[in-house]
Amino acid sequence: MEKFTKITATATPFPRVNVDTDIIIPAKHLKSIKRSGFGVHAFETVRFNADGSPIPDNVFDGPKYKGSKILIAGDNFGCGSSREHAPWAIADMGFRCIIAPSFADIFAGNCVKNGILTVALPQEAVDALVLAAEAGHQITVDLQDQTVTCQNAHYEFDYNPEHKKKLLEGLDEIGQTLTASAAIASFESKQKLMMPWLYRG
């Protein structure tokens, strides 16, 4: 997994509320058995008309936000399905960080696994960042210090320390967990005595 420490970049404003994972990546594109290549279909209904023609002036394709690495989003971002194809698609578009008033739980968890930082800030702060992004100002997100900076504005954010460590170090989580194999095995032998019906064979 790619590490996340600090980025300074252009940001894309997309402050719609309740953006669900069907908007981020529609189900018809979930048939691939790979992890990559979802970016071209991301936010399809925002970027393309029903006949497949591009929607002019959408924030994702225009030159204005080219090279953007930060997405400024609306409240309850990523609600709906558990599909990890959503963060895969967002990462595929080049985003490394999403700033919003709140995120759906499963989506936020999936972001951590893919090196994407989700920053929850109060609505007023997000509104201000939307304006700054529209004005073309760069935004700096520093995970170590847990701050977002844009021109003179400076915001601090809360972040789960376990997730922070994972992002900062870009750890292989399964490899880490496997070092606890002995603890897992001892849990199992205890549980098997108490609840044998949960074990077969």
Partner: protein
């Protein structure tokens, strides 16, 4: 200190406590389907890792399966490839695998309970957000992403942060004509789609106790639409009676011990919830969604709300967008919305009780002439077989409904079952998101009885006087 049911299940599954509510949690049960698993198996193979406990897994295809002409070749090559990948992975890793031609095949969240795989007090996961369904049995059940699927396969654990406790109590008695679906929609309408974020919801009160296991599954299913990762209902005699004798349920010698353990799971007297919501169940009416979020819900007797009735600017913008997408006008009576297509199915409402309710409404009547397609998709092959035994298939087909093979179908339109752009769909599923049932499709979430009534009338009607 008195504990909630969630506290108890959480505590008994902690393998390592990392402080601040973070823990390595043991996972007892894992359901696997074709859409969110291929990348996880690929990851395992790439790292040369094995599955820690194949006996904790059931694999079954559901999202992408065709619901008709299963004997013919699948015309979609990508869908074929995905189904073949599940086949290959299940065989390679020696999983309990229910194939597409097995009578037990169906939607994971129908199959798990039906097989007795879902049990009180277990931790159960699946790469699907509606895993919350299984909370109806008092299981801590929640959806996970593909990286987590891989993590559970390899380690039988997850790194999690404990959620907060929330209790939704539904008092009184549910009026005739209302079902668990209306209870679920009423709760989401009251607290919003982010209302349960970061919480696990325990449902309690006389209305919940009065629900059948099917009804409890419908309710817990939609916990995720209220933002909660999991829902819970305390196990009781109904739960035990449902489970007894099912293939994965504890066998004779262990049954008693299991039931005693299950009985001790309910929240202690005096347990503290971080948030409490009380809803008067006797005030619940049949509901219909008008917008593109499950919280956009109103009584069937009401009208489409005015944009100005929302206080927040972002909500107003969202409401305007939803009205445009849905092709509805402010103040338009819900009963004036013409229905073009009807879908009875999905992990919310495709169980035998749902089909009985719908069949009851349509018996001896016929689908309105302008309705393009009305479709019943049973949740599993076993539901389908039971319904056929009861003659329900005949009731549906006589009324002009199509009777299909089990799967997710038009709930998410990954297979050919979809609505055309602009069509209004009366759907018993759980999500009315933009494009969910096909590009441009306009979904209205309703109960099975309401969907059936809408099919007959050709527009929404109040099933209480239909």
């Amino acid at each position: 200190m008195p504990k909630t049911m969630y506290d108890k299940i959480w505590d008994m599954h902690v393998v390592e406590d990392h402080g601040n509510g973070n823990a390595l949690l043991y996972i007892d049960r894992h359901l696997v389907h074709e859409v969110t698993s291929p990348q996880a198996f690929e990851g395992l193979r790439a790292a040369g890792r094995r599955i820690r406990r194949p006996d904790s897994i059931i694999a079954v295809p559901d999202h992408n399966v065709p619901t008709k002409d299963r004997d013919k070749p699948n015309p979609d090559p990508m869908s074929t490839e995905q189904l073949a990948a599940l086949d290959a992975n299940a065989n390679e890793f020696k999983l309990d695998y229910i194939t597409m031609s097995d009578i037990r095949q169906g939607i994971v969240h129908v199959v798990g309970p039906e097989q007795g795989f879902t049990q009180p007090g277990v931790t159960l996961v699946c790469g699907d957000s509606h895993t919350s369904t299984h909370g109806a049995f008092g299981a801590l059940a929640f959806g996970i992403g593909t990286s987590e699927v891989e993590h559970v396969l390899a380690t039988q654990t997850l790194h999690l942060k404990k959620s907060k406790n929330m209790r939704v109590t539904v008092t009184g008695e549910l009026p005739v004509g209302c079902s668990a679906k209306d209870v679920a929609l009423a709760i989401i309408g009251a607290i919003g789609t982010a209302g349960g974020t970061a919480h696990v919801i325990e449902y309690a009160g006389p209305v919940i106790e009065g629900l059948s296991m099917e009804g409890r599954m419908t309710l817990c299913n939609m916990s995720i639409e209220a933002g909660a990762r999991a829902g819970l209902v305390a196990p009781d005699e109904k739960t035990f009676a449902y489970l007894k004798g099912r293939p994965y349920a504890p066998k004779a010698g262990q049954w008693e011990a299991a039931v005693n353990f299950w009985k001790a799971l309910k929240s202690d007297e005096g347990a503290v919830f971080d948030r409490e919501i009380v809803i008067d169940g006797s005030q619940i009416v049949p509901l219909v969604t008008w917008g593109t979020s499950p919280e956009d819900v109103v009584p069937v007797t009401a009208t489409v709300p005015a944009v100005a009735s929302f206080t927040d600017r972002n909500k107003q913008e969202a409401a305007q967008k939803a009205l445009d997408y849905m092709g509805l006008k402010e103040g338009q009576p819900i009963t004036d919305i013409r229905v073009d297509r009807v879908f009875i199915g999905s992990c919310t409402n495709s169980r035998i009780e749902d089909l009985r309710e719908a069949a009851n409404v349509i018996k001896g009547r016929h689908v309105a002439g302008h309705v393009v397609e009305a479709m019943v998709v049973p949740g599993s092959g076993l539901v389908k077989a039971l319904a056929e035994e009861e003659g329900l298939d005949k009731v549906f087909t006589d009324a002009g409904f199509q009777w299909r093979e089990p799967g997710c179908s038009m709930c998410l339109a990954m297979n050919p079952d979809k609505a055309a752009p602009g069509e209004h769909v009366a759907s018993t599923s759980n999500r009315n998101f933009v494009g969910r049932q096909g590009p441009g499709a306009r979904t209205h979430l309703v109960s099975p009885a309401m969907a059936a009534a809408a099919a007959i009338a050709g527009h929404f009607v109040d099933v209480r006087n239909f």
